[in-house]
């Protein structure tokens, strides 16, 4: 820590001028690094350049961690950390010593990079704030896990951290990390396949459409869950996502998507966006998705998330799903994931002849049954009640 203190004094003067130019803070959670920046004077290109810079150096930081602790860090985890620096530790092994310090170092490192960038690009009048919107920090201060710290100090500390990084020389292969995360997803897919095989008699099929499984293997589920449960993202279980809601069990998502029998280019309406994961899976198959979320906070988060992940084929709207989305009706498929006391008649009318609607019934953590409604050519609705569990024979041996 001694040399860090020396570094503090050396860089202090360098950034004093930039610091004085900072104005009142604001928060923008829309995307990536921009969540710390109020781009009053920054252009989109500037932000991207800054993001690129921080991203590059983040990998270097991870390199250092990997080198000193012999840990494996996934590429996706780097991405995640970019968006949630407060969870820097979560993506590292829990055995990591002094992890709080590492966490703080990382946050400060990001600020250091921002300051450096501002100094270099000579952009003035830019306000920024720490990642935690509940913490109020004034001009020129950073809010970290340990409370407000002077930007000058944090920048200096990070310079020290960077010096340490320079000293490290280990090989780091981002592709390797990415592969590891993909392994997790594939493991999840294998679990789903096993479960489907065992429920085949109820589902009337022994395997799922490979397009569904391929899609699920592509969608980064860890980006659809909150930081506190990110390490469980690829477990085959529902997870709380805040706002009293959950992200469905992957197994249930797979079955529902499969039962809808979506073809690329088809139009799908989703009532209850939730985290946006189901919509992303549908989009990955090639469907065009219109999704309505009744809980405003949840809808906004999903909207931002899907945009950030470039799911351009998904459109999210906040509000009442009862009347569907008449402007884009009729739909080839409709998913009603939001709890409803009954199936809204307008939704049934927005289903194409031959189209399918699926509704999971049960509680947030246990799906009791899936209701699959098919609209016949003569406007008759046939319902199939599908149990997502193998429990036969019902009167067989115990």
């Amino acid at each position: 820590m001694i040399f860090l203190a020396i570094a503090v004094s050396r860089v202090e003067s360098k950034h004093a001028q930039a610091a004085r130019q900072f104005t009142e803070i604001d928060v923008n959670h829309e995307r990536g690094v921009a969540q710390w920046l109020r781009p009053q004077a920054l252009h989109r290109g500037d932000i991207e350049a800054l993001e690129h810079r921080i991203y590059r150096n983040t990998i270097t930081i991870f390199q250092f961690i990997v080198k000193t602790h012999g840990l494996v860090v996934y590429q996706d985890q780097v991405d995640f950390t970019m968006r949630h620096p407060e969870n820097f530790n979560r993506v590292l092994d829990r055995r990591l010593p002094a992890k709080l310090i590492c966490n703080d170092l990382f946050v400060m490192f990001v600020y250091y990079e921002i300051i450096e960038f501002l100094v270099e690009t000579k952009i003035g009048q830019v306000g920024f704030q720490a990642y935690n919107p509940s913490q109020q920090c004034g001009t020129g201060n950073y809010s970290t896990m340990f409370g407000p710290i002077s930007y000058r100090h944090s920048g200096s500390v990070m310079l020290g951290a960077l010096l340490l990084l320079v000293a490290s020389s280990c090989e780091f292969d981002p592709a390797q990390s990415s592969n590891d995360l993909r392994d997790d997803r594939e493991q999840m897919i294998r679990l789903i396949e096993d479960d489907v095989r065992s429920t085949s008699s109820y589902l009337k099929q022994s395997s799922l459409d490979t397009r569904v499984l391929d899609a699920m293997a592509q969608v980064p589920r860890h980006k659809f869950v909150p930081p506190q449960v990110v390490d469980m993202a690829y477990q085959n279980r529902p997870l709380p996502i805040g706002h009293s809601q959950t992200i469905s069990q992957p197994y249930i998502v797979a079955i529902m998507t499969d039962l809808l029998d979506i073809e690329p280019g088809q139009h799908v309406l989703e009532i209850g966006t939730g985290s946006g994961y189901q919509a992303a899976v549908l989009a990955e198959i090639g469907a065009r998705v219109w999704s309505i979320e009744i809980i405003p906070e949840l809808g906004k988060e999903a909207q931002a998330r899907l945009r950030q992940l470039d799911y351009d084929k998904v459109e999210v709207r906040l509000g009442d799903g009862y009347y569907g989305w008449p402007e884009y009706a009729a739909f080839d498929a409709i998913i009603v994931t939001a709890a409803a006391s009954h199936i809204p008649p307008p939704l049934l009318q927005q289903l194409k002849p031959g189209g399918k609607m699926i509704i999971p019934v049960g509680s947030q953590f246990s799906t009791q049954q899936l209701i699959l409604i098919t609209r016949g050519d003569n406007d008759e609705f046939i319902t199939r009640q599908v149990l997502p569990v193998r429990f036969v024979p019902l009167t067989g041996e115990h």
């Binding site: 429920t199 706002h243 949840l298 009862y322 709890a339 006391s341 953590f365 319902t383 009640q385 429990f391």
Partner: protein, 809 residues
């Protein structure tokens, strides 16, 4: 120095009242925060604090006995403090029962919740336990004060909950703890000055605590929390009583549109509605009614509308009127006279007065007569006959998985249906609408109960008196007081076809008509109903994976369907979409019992190991076993009887709250009197004989009640409430009196024994009480409450046989 005659009897009564009040209050609070049976389970286990206290006192008795006053005052203060703080902390642990099947962390959180809640009981038990040790020559009187206080606490907290919300009642309980400390201080000849100074300070502190500390943090996964997430929703009214928290929610931006079971063919949207929640769950609606009949047309597209299509009912009985949907449905179908029964007067007030303009004052509508009564009691006492009796919609599918499985429900039992059949006019109908559970469970169970009720009513051609239809969401079962005619059957078929509801059963229904619109893998409902009516019924019930045995008053668990033999398979399937099949409440109960047994063994054996060196070696081995057997049996027996008779008297008093007050109050106060009476025999040779006599009386009374209570309650069931309360007290008092005798006499027998045995016995009794509370429910589910009483009587017999001999140094 405290003198031996300064017995802290009032303070013991006060702390006991606070403890029992706290126990009941915690159940009310956690029923609101979580779900009822989890509340029951968590609080039951937390009572292990009594068991821990036994071990603690074994270790510390010597040091504490001579410093009784200071220690006891501290314990009372700690109870006052922890009763509030531990609750506030426990509810902040964000424990979610539904995640138990997914996440082991939640087991840890559950354990922490229990540990926190056990603390206040631990402190209170320390006080009472030490008083029993310290004043060993008058311990029967101390114990009498304990029981008497508990009885007052049971009645008192229920009275308080009519006046103030539970969060405020919690502060009163906390204050009562400090008050007990003050009384104790004065009883033990302490100076009055510290009391005068400290009590107002405590009162001020309790008064000025932030409301957020005690305000219940309702689970985010309960219906109310979910609805309040929608923008534009807000709570517009709240009422509290011991029957629970009633909440009314308005949704300004997005209409509620509550119409469970609405046909897929319906194009109708419900009119404006307000959400009505009891204990933050079980959404029903108060529907806007301006007198415009057309607004109610959607009610004709529910499965529950079926009976109105078979005949124009002149007289309709709506059980569980709630927000008034059943009344509106009857009004839409031009029912001549409607009797509506609702137990919760606060719901009635809200619908009639506070939101009277919105609801169209339906309870005051011409032809509608409201009865504020419990449904089962009304069925028993009503004199009229009806063309249609609509049971309340029982929606077990929308709540969290299996949380209702352990709730007793006396409205869906064979006896209740039999009473309802008696109230039917010739050719009248009973309509029972239920949420669909798959694979079919409660829906078929109700069908089996209906068959049993018709059999018990002496009806012939039972298979011609039943009909069952189902949508994807609800099923409606009709029981007819007469046989379904061809015209009736045609009406059922037309009604169902137009709404795409499936026919599950009607007399002589061909198989090909089943399972057409809401297709299951096989015609489970049709096959099930046929099997239940056929000669192979017993075989079918035996083979079926779920328990479809009819619910009875002895086993009133309509929603419970897990068979022990299927449990392991269900546990294996919990992550493969089978979580909803696994009644988490039942599973938790089984696991809790196992854990409690283990903990109890540990708590009972630990002191034995610790005191081995100095005292136990002085005892003959058989004496130790006797002490264990005696106090364990008494602990089991006392609560088993109390719980089982509480259930029996719910049926007699027709109200769970009155039953709880009367039964708990009478048992405990009578036992207190019995305990006081026992003081004269304490420490004497004849105490063994007195105990034997008391136990004999308990067994005789218990057996007599088992045989006679049913017929007696049947014949006296329609008497005025006050008379029924008096009869209940008269029946309970002698049993309670006798039950109060054995414990203090047994403890007195140990008074001259190596001193460590008294706290050990106290701990054993505490552990056994906890086990019995959990065991009672589990036994009742599988064998019925009569079996629980039989087991309790056996326990008393075992206790009498193992009465500890007087031991002296």
């Amino acid at each position: 120095m405290v003198t031996t005659d300064a017995r802290p009897r009032i303070s013991i009564a006060v702390i006991s009242a606070a403890v029992l009040g706290y126990e009941i209050l915690l159940m009310a609070l956690f029923s609101l925060i979580q779900w009822h049976h989890f509340a029951y389970m968590v609080v039951s286990v937390a009572l292990l604090g009594f068991g821990v206290s036994g071990s603690f006192l074994v270790l510390t008795r010597a040091a504490l006995e001579n410093n009784f006053r200071n220690f006891a005052v501290i314990q009372a203060c700690l109870f006052g403090l922890s009763s509030l703080l531990c609750y506030a902390l426990a509810q902040r642990l964000s424990f979610n029962p539904e995640e138990l099947i997914w996440d082991n962390n939640h087991w840890l959180r559950l354990a922490l919740v229990i540990l926190l809640l056990a603390l206040p009981f631990f402190f209170a038990a320390n006080l009472i336990g030490l008083a029993l040790i310290r004043f060993k020559y008058s311990l029967a009187r101390i114990y009498a004060a304990d029981l008497f206080g508990a009885g007052i606490g049971a009645v008192g907290i229920i009275a308080i909950l009519f006046l103030v919300p539970p969060a405020t009642a919690l502060r009163y309980i906390s204050l009562l703890g400090f008050a007990a400390a003050a009384v104790l201080w004065l009883e033990c000849r302490g100076h009055w000055r510290p009391v005068i100074i400290s009590l107002p300070i405590v009162m001020f502190c309790l008064y000025s605590l932030p409301g957020s500390w005690t305000e219940p943090l309702i689970s985010p996964y309960k219906g109310l929390s979910q609805l309040l997430r929608v923008s534009g929703t807000r709570v517009v009214a709240e009422r509290f009583s011991p029957l629970g928290l009633v909440t009314v929610v308005e949704s300004e931006a997005i209409p509620l549109r509550h119409a469970p079971g609405l046909s897929l063919n319906s194009h109708l949207e419900p009119p404006a509605q307000l959400g009505l929640f009891i204990d933050a769950d079980g959404l029903t609606a108060i529907t806007h009614y301006s007198g415009e009949r057309a607004d109610l047309a959607y009610l004709d597209d529910l499965t529950s509308a079926l009976p109105y299509h078979l005949q124009a009912p002149g007289r309709v009985l709506i059980l569980g009127a709630g927000g008034g949907a059943g009344i509106l449905q009857a009004l839409y179908h031009d029912a001549g006279q409607i009797d509506a029964v609702e137990i919760n007067s606060q719901v009635v007030d809200l619908v009639s007065d506070r939101f009277g303009d919105f609801s169209g004052k339906i309870f005051d509508h011409a032809g509608v007569k409201l009865h504020i009564a419990e449904a089962r009691g009304f069925l028993q006492s009503a004199y009229g006959r009806y063309d249609l009796i609509q049971f309340p919609m029982f929606d077990s599918s929308t709540t969290a998985a299996g949380v209702q499985g352990l709730d007793e429900n006396y409205l869906y039992t064979v006896e209740a249906l039999k009473q309802a059949i008696k109230r039917l006019d010739d050719q009248g109908y009973i309509a029972l609408t239920l949420g669909i559970k798959l694979p079919p469970r409660s829906n078929l169970k109700l069908f089996a109960s209906a068959i049993a009720a018709l059999e018990a009513s002496g009806a012939d051609n039972i298979e011609r008196r039943l009909a069952l239809i189902r949508g994807w969401q609800t099923s409606t079962l009709l029981i007819k007081n007469g046989e379904f005619s061809t015209t009736n059957i045609d009406a059922i078929k037309n009604f169902s076809r137009r709404r795409s509801f499936d026919l599950a059963y009607y007399p002589n229904m061909p198989a090909h008509e089943a399972n057409r619109y809401n297709q299951l893998e096989a015609s489970y409902f049709y096959d099930g109903t046929r099997a239940l009516l056929g000669k192979q019924r017993d075989q079918f019930l035996h083979d079926y994976k779920f328990n479809l045995e009819p619910a009875t008053d002895d086993r009133p668990f309509h929603s419970h369907s897990v068979k022990l033999s299927s449990l392991s398979e269900l546990i294996k399937l919990r992550h493969r979409g089978g979580g909803a099949l696994l009644e988490t409440g039942y599973l938790t109960l089984v696991i809790t019992l196992v854990l409690t047994l283990l903990f109890s063994v540990l708590l009972i054996l630990l002191p034995l190991i610790l005191i081995r060196r100095d005292t136990v070696r002085m005892l003959r081995r058989s004496s130790t076993v006797k002490v264990l057997g005696y106090f364990f049996s008494l602990g089991l027996g006392f609560l088993l009887i109390e719980i089982a008779f509480l259930q029996k008297f719910i049926l007699f008093l027709h109200h769970p709250i009155y039953a709880a007050s009367v039964v708990l109050g009478s048992f405990l106060v009578a036992a207190g009197v019995g305990s006081g009476y026992a003081q004269r025999f304490a420490g004497q040779r004849r105490s063994k004989k007195v105990t034997a006599n008391a136990v004999a009386a308990i067994i005789v009374l218990g057996m007599a009640y088992l045989a006679l209570l049913g017929p007696l309650m049947q014949s006296a069931g329609s008497l005025p409430l006050i008379i029924r309360i008096l009869i209940s007290i008269v029946l309970i008092a002698p049993l309670g009196f006798c039950m109060g005798i054995p414990f203090p006499l047994g403890l007195s027998a140990l008074a001259t024994s190596p001193p460590s045995l008294t706290p050990w016995a106290w701990g054993i009794n505490g552990c056994a009480s906890v086990i019995s509370a959990i065991l009672a429910t589990l036994l009742a589910i599988h064998f019925g409450f009569n079996a629980v009483i039989l087991l309790a009587l056996t326990c008393y017999f075992a206790a009498a046989a193992s009465f500890p001999e007087l031991i002296s140094n």
